[in-house]
Symmetry: C2
Subunit: 553 residues, 2 copies
């Protein structure tokens, strides 16, 4: 699995999904091409999926929000007879490296969260129209929708057969959404998750596994009725015209680095480190909403979000040995504020709002990135507002103090704005500053009083916004020592430590999926009962069951 995985696509390249829109309704049809797997060695039968299928889905969901603002309800359905979706492809899982499996699960989880959030945040609701077998990851697709309609016939059922069949967990939020979103009674959830064959018809409704079970004769009319109900709840603008998400301009280097228009990724494989530099806007903020729409995908705030998102996904899936990601910025801090201010001032406009919501998702992608994250606030940097959020997303922040000899860039500073106090909550539903100051909540207020100021190191440190501040004499050594030390620790222990330290405070379905379910799945993905020579994943399809070490731990 050494070819580069590309997270950029567009509908003209899709092999697995079809998207059509008709006024306020879109239809998203899953029709996986068995021969178009991302890697060799498996066929994507029965609408089973691999990462490539999910990359298309993520793209489709994203485009529906930006390119089709008029859409209020999305019907997710299968293009195959008698099967909705068989879940993640087992042979792909059996053959994939542990790190690929884990990052595959993380990305699919993020994608599920994306269309689950589309209804709540943007009034673009997902309705899952299930005909045929809907199993494992297939049912997890349905679970992330706002409403599930199941055909009441002999061949349609929902199931989570992972435990009995594959000795792994439903890894894309299934267990969590069954108990916490759909609130299925826990003993019934136990029965459901221990059966291979799943549940059909009325029982699926009684157990709260689906919302409707209707005979085929009434299926289409029920779907239409639900579409109307959800569309009626939506505040989406009926007459808005979307913008096109044009292809990103990127150049990949041989060493893993990438150059985008606003983002530069440098990779030092020997030192196991990537550096992401975000360059602030060169041009002024749009002068009007019309100008914003005219700029479309070119507007700095959207372009930067898309590029940063792509850069992080590239590092996650293609550069598995990098242990540390360093975030830098360069540019005019006031220009960043101006661009962001424009969107915040115009958030009643759907496009301005969508760009802000996209930043929310990108910042969560940073939070969830399982590498040691550090930000360097250097001379010439522009950590303002939304970019300053990165300082509170990373594990540590180092800030340069005062003038650096021979460096004529402006002195390092941090500018807080409204963006740091509400619009970009973490998965725990708190802002990053609220999470940071859980023990001293008065500090959030103290920081807020200084919003708008370019805070230099002394003030930033006093306010608790950075971990360390060093002048030019100590800066280089201190940063180098930290980076070297971090690269020397066990990556596993760091993964576990960071996952536990990053999300203090309240838990949500999302923190539970990433914090708890993922941890259990990581463990199970290591265990011979699942992945060993005689484990269930390897033996799947051979007609012979997995052989298990029967000790409970």
């Amino acid at each position: 699995m050494s070819k580069r995985i590309d997270f950029q696509t567009d509908p003209s390249k899709y092999r697995h999904w079809k998207v059509s829109t008709d006024g306020e309704v879109a239809t998203l049809t899953m029709d996986v091409d068995p021969s178009a797997g991302l890697f060799e060695g498996y066929e994507l039968k029965l609408n089973s999926y691999d990462l490539g299928v999910d990359i298309e889905l993520a793209d489709a969901v994203q485009r529906l929000r930006f390119e089709h603002p008029e859409v209020k309800a999305v019907v997710m359905q299968s293009g195959k007879d008698r099967v909705f979706c068989a879940g993640a492809n087992i042979r792909m899982l059996a053959g994939a490296a542990h790190a690929h499996k884990v990052n595959f699960c993380k990305f699919t989880n993020e994608t599920r969260n994306t269309f689950e959030a589309a209804g709540a945040e943007s009034g673009q609701y997902y309705i899952c129209a299930v005909k045929g077998a809907c199993a494992g990851g297939g049912y997890e697709l349905a679970l992330a929708c706002d409403h599930i309609i199941l055909a009441d016939d002999a061949s349609s059922s929902v199931a989570l057969p992972e435990v009995p069949l594959l000795a792994v967990l439903p890894g894309t939020g299934g267990l969590t959404r069954v108990t916490d979103k759909r609130k299925v009674r826990r003993d019934l959830a136990d029965v459901f998750c221990a059966m291979e064959e799943g549940v059909r018809g009325k029982k699926a409704v009684d157990w709260r596994l689906v919302d409707d079970a209707v005979p085929n004769s009434k299926f289409d009319e029920t779907v239409a009725a639900r579409v109307s109900e959800y569309a009626a709840k939506s505040q989406r603008p009926a007459d808005a015209k979307g913008i096109e998400l044009t292809p990103l301009k990127r150049t990949f280097n041989d060493d893993g680095g990438v150059t985008y228009s606003t983002v530069e990724v440098e990779v030092d494989r020997a030192k196991r480190r990537a550096t992401i530099t975000i360059n602030g806007p060169a041009d002024a903020a749009p002068a009007s909403v019309e100008a914003l729409h005219a700029e479309g995908a070119e507007t700095w705030m959207l372009r930067c979000a898309r590029e940063l998102d792509d850069a992080i996904l590239h590092l996650r899936l293609n550069e598995l040995e990098l242990g540390v990601v360093v975030f830098r910025t360069q540019g005019d801090p006031e220009q960043v504020v101006a661009h962001e201010r424009f969107l915040l001032d115009n958030r009643s406009n759907w496009l301005a709002k969508e760009i802000l919501l996209y930043w929310k998702r990108v910042l969560k992608r940073v939070d969830m990135t399982s590498r040691s994250l550090v930000a360097l606030v250097e001379p010439g940097s522009c950590f303002s507002g939304v970019l300053a959020e990165i300082l509170f997303a990373v594990d540590r922040t180092y800030m340069a103090e005062g003038d650096f000899e021979g460096d004529n860039r402006h002195v390092a500073s941090i500018t807080l704005t409204e963006a740091n106090f509400g619009p970009f909550p973490m998965a725990n539903d708190l802002t990053r500053l609220e999470t940071r100051f859980l023990g001293e909540p008065e500090r959030v207020g103290a920081a807020r009083e200084r919003a708008g100021e370019a805070l230099e190191a002394f003030d930033a440190n006093e306010l608790g916004l950075v971990t360390f501040a060093y002048d030019d004499i100590d800066w280089e050594d201190e940063v180098r020592i930290f980076l070297e030390e971090r690269a020397s620790f066990s990556p596993d222990a760091l993964t576990g430590m960071e996952a536990n330290l990053r999300f203090a405070g309240p838990e949500t379905m999302e923190t539970r999926i990433f914090g708890r379910l993922t941890a259990w799945q990581n463990w199970i993905f290591q265990r011979p009962n699942a992945v060993g020579e005689d484990g269930a994943l390897r033996r799947y399809g051979t007609g012979v069951r997995g052989e298990y070490d029967l000790r409970r731990v």
Copy 2:
């Protein structure tokens, strides 16, 4: 590690702890005997601990609550010079089987929760007086106390050096308590958890790691002052006389079974199953508070709690291959209600209250037991009130319906009481019925309206109290099929599934410790970076660092 681990002890047998009391103050001194490890192959140097040390601590905490009701503040301190506690013994961890490590961590976590709860629930507060190095599990002992006083000198520090030194996590709640109890800022927590040497003096206070840092000259007076402050908050009765926790009467069989006075444990190793039968009270409930005190440890509610607790711990640590634990009861349902009623009616009495609080802990021990749990409500059973809680703690409940041919015992029924609606919350701070009916909260009320009735299978099923009800024609087959099926699944997948399904609803520090931290630690305990030939745990003390696979997942 095949000798039987015994969870029963008493102060006359302690090798590692000294307990003394002086009026309202107790002192708990850790002075580990290096040569008295539970197993061969390691020495418990520097107040490091193994399960045997923790069994004594759990016993001491329990006895302070029952035998010393007059104690309001407990000072935890070290009996060694220059070291408070070095944490869990590394050579023990390096040599222990995975299942032992995991269950060791679980028991130590439960013990930490016990003394953390003693202050909040019973007004018996723990004050940790730290002199010398307090590292890893040592600092986790301190973190579970209500207050931490650190000597401000060159040799006293707190540290969580697991990640840099051992490539594992602080596994006894350290990460969670640092972020969620003490609310240490997350970047400072990152720095703290990545340093071997720990933090001393004023910085430890500034970072919120300890409550006081005082010079040795003022150490004793500060401890005394804090003791007075906490004692003043306590509502413990000053003149109460404790009861003695007399030795349990037990007989162990060769096959892993145990016979207690109220509890019978049968083990079928071939079928990988244990059956725990609880026998209801033979005698009437105490007639008065004086009678309760006179019965002391013999009173049925306390005796049964102690025996059930011991039985579960025995199965967890000594019978690692058992996959399923079956809970049965036999006895007079009304007698159970009478005994429980007496305690609930007299909970203003310290002893009645402590027995109820002990049941709360025992029921949580059931929740946390990582085996498939099933309850069988059979003819002759007495699942009333506190025993009915077991039905809602297990993964599934099977109930016998109506008369069973040739069986003259009373028809199976369930009696709900006040005990099912408040006094025994789970780790998520909800009652088990609230957790069960998260999706249909009105069902809690519906069940409550039927409290006091002996509900037979039809009603119990309608109310959602049981998973399945079968008459005598189907009963045996259905139960057998389930038990066989369950025993055939991968234990790892079941562990992960059950851990995710059992604790729906809100999260607390406790659910986070057991659900999230434990899962990550389980994973890390499997990884070669920690436990492989060249891993950090194995190499500890050799002067050579662990060799790590550097891929991040």
